[in-house]
Symmetry: none
Subunit: 200 residues, 4 copies
DNA sequence: TATGAATGAGTCTTCATTCAT
DNA sequence: TATGAATGAAGACTCATTCAT
């Protein structure tokens, strides 16, 4: 396996980024196993060879894509919570969060799908996702404390909440069982979250 | 693509089942994309060619495997709930359910992983899983009614509960974040479920 | 690396042999590194894929070729010696042997070249050659004894003789330094061999 | 193919030499086909591009290396013979020569291997080796005459001797057949050489 | 019905060489 | 003179699927 090289010149950096961006996009669109390296090269407007100077592997491209994605999906979430310095109305805040969550799921529907898929197929990717999930949990937990919402066992509780939210949003976006009313479900979700947060 | 044919003779039926069983096993063990059709044939003790008389596709084998698996994982769950004709002690029942759930996750760790992976990669598999999840929700919902636990919006609530349980068990079995105490989390999960069930 | 399969049907066996024969021929002709697998397939009149059912590797083809070659080069040599049940005239016998040796070198000029080349590049091939050289030495040694030519340290002496012969023939066939008179050299070689054999 | 250029400035000359030295070293170590041009550039501390200003080819680097090597292996041999102005004791001289020969083989085990390998793969390299072998033969031949050892057909005889020595040393260094006693063989080799030299 | 030999397009990856800077 | 980013053709190998027997 040849050495990977980090580009130094600006043009090259752009090129590397374009490979990640376009490659990840393609992989998410068509499925990791249904995209070939030459195809990625073509779409990114580079030659096949250059890919293997910047990445050790096809998988490597995906992983870099995942990292970018993780950040981009986590960041807005934290922003919301952070902005709400004084939480007067949980209900409104929750609405905002859920909406944002759904938005980011929608925004990169396929990406999220593919991410989960690969996480089960490749342990190194699974690790990245797990890590970012835990980070998320910790961050939210800290934010709550800052806002004087002191929970005992906050990590566990936040983790559960996070899971509920993720499930809900995921369903809304893709898997709509038609027998389920997602507005009602949303209210239920919110009730549960409030219950957890108040039941200190 | 040649026509698929259902075998009539007993020997042939056995053969077909062996392909499904061994094939699914292998796919779960090593990952769908890392198992070849000839390999499946070999392990199942049949010829390569015969596979394409019983199945239209490699994926077809997996799907048949999934169906079997779905049943086998859902069935014990429903049994428990059904047996508890008179629910006097929710807490105990929940413990039982959670333990059973964890058991079935553990039992077929790889299978479940692979299932999720493929569900994100292939929509026909996703559909199967979704369907079985909804069935599960409906069945549980009905069981509750039979036991005189009348919930409004029961489908939505049960669905949420199902999700919480699934998340929890999945984490316990595979992804244990070491900063999280899963005994405490279990108590929290139970509290939440009880809250939902009582908050009619 | 997929399993290698030995063909059972006659047609398949022929096919396998054709791959070895044509492949080895090609590799000898153009150099191992200058022949591609598809090219071998084409020349052998088979598909690329089948090659990897009979051979684990490109190198594997070469090795099988080497084995065939070793036999075919060693066999006639031994025959000569064996036939000469009563050695009355060493000189004549030596002439015969040398001629046969040269003939077999000439016959497969490139093969021998390539063999030596690969033996230095790949240890598994080197081993095959070494083994067959030693076998040769041992066989000749035994033949001499049978003919009541008892040498002390016969193995060592025969090995030296074998080397001298091999060098000589190789030179005659390919590397003719034009300043060297190979007829004279041949006489010298024979003298030396006779010296060794008589100097018990 | 771009024009090759010989550097004039001292720094550039050093650079060129470093490429030859490091490149040849690497090729010998890992095998010609397992070393890439960029790798050579890296090890030599130059840029990829510069290589193609000093050398027309990857092979060109190897050839230059071979030339250096040939000299370095032939030189000490000739020195020995030259120094022994009055040859009183052939036996001792032979011992010295053989030891020196073995030493130079050992010293650059891989280089010698690779050299032989390439000589069979590439005719231009074969030529270099052949030439240097013949030179060696001629030099030794002349040295013998200087020392009043007049052989008829000296070229042929020396060539044979050279071959015997080379075979012997090569075997000792790399291919030790374990059934062969190399001390005994050495004595036999010496006997033969003495026979040739005395049998004028 | 069953076999397993055969196919060949397709995959990832490498590397000698060129060329813009 | 020198750099090192870029090229892209070519290589070894895989595998779902077909087909002669």
């Amino acid at each position: 396996m040849s050495e990977t090289r980090l580009p130094k010149q600006q043009g090259a950096i752009d090129k590397r980024n374009r490979i990640i961006e376009k490659g990840f996009e393609l992989m998410c669109e068509k499925g990791y196993y249904n995209v070939s390296t030459p195809e990625i090269a073509k779409v990114a407007g580079v030659s096949t060879g250059i890919i293997y100077q910047y990445f050790s592997d096809k998988k490597d491209i995906f992983i870099e894509g995942v990292k970018n994605y993780s950040n981009s999906i986590m960041f807005p979430m934290l922003q919301i919570i952070e902005k709400s310095n004084e939480i007067k109305d949980f209900n409104t805040l929750l609405d905002e969060i859920i909406d944002k969550f759904i938005a980011s799921h929608t925004m990169s529907e396929k990406a999220h799908e593919q991410l989960l898929a690969m996480s089960h197929l490749d342990s190194s990717i699974a690790e990245i996702i797990n890590t970012s999930e835990l980070e998320m949990t910790e961050n939210i937990s800290m934010l709550l404390e800052k806002n004087n919402i002191m929970l005992n066992n906050s990590l566990e509780k936040v983790h559960i909440i996070y899971g509920i939210l993720d499930n809900y949003c995921h369903e809304v976006v893709y898997h709509k069982h038609d027998k389920i009313d997602y507005n009602i479900m949303k209210e239920n979700v919110k009730e549960i979250i409030l219950f957890v947060l108040k039941n200190r």
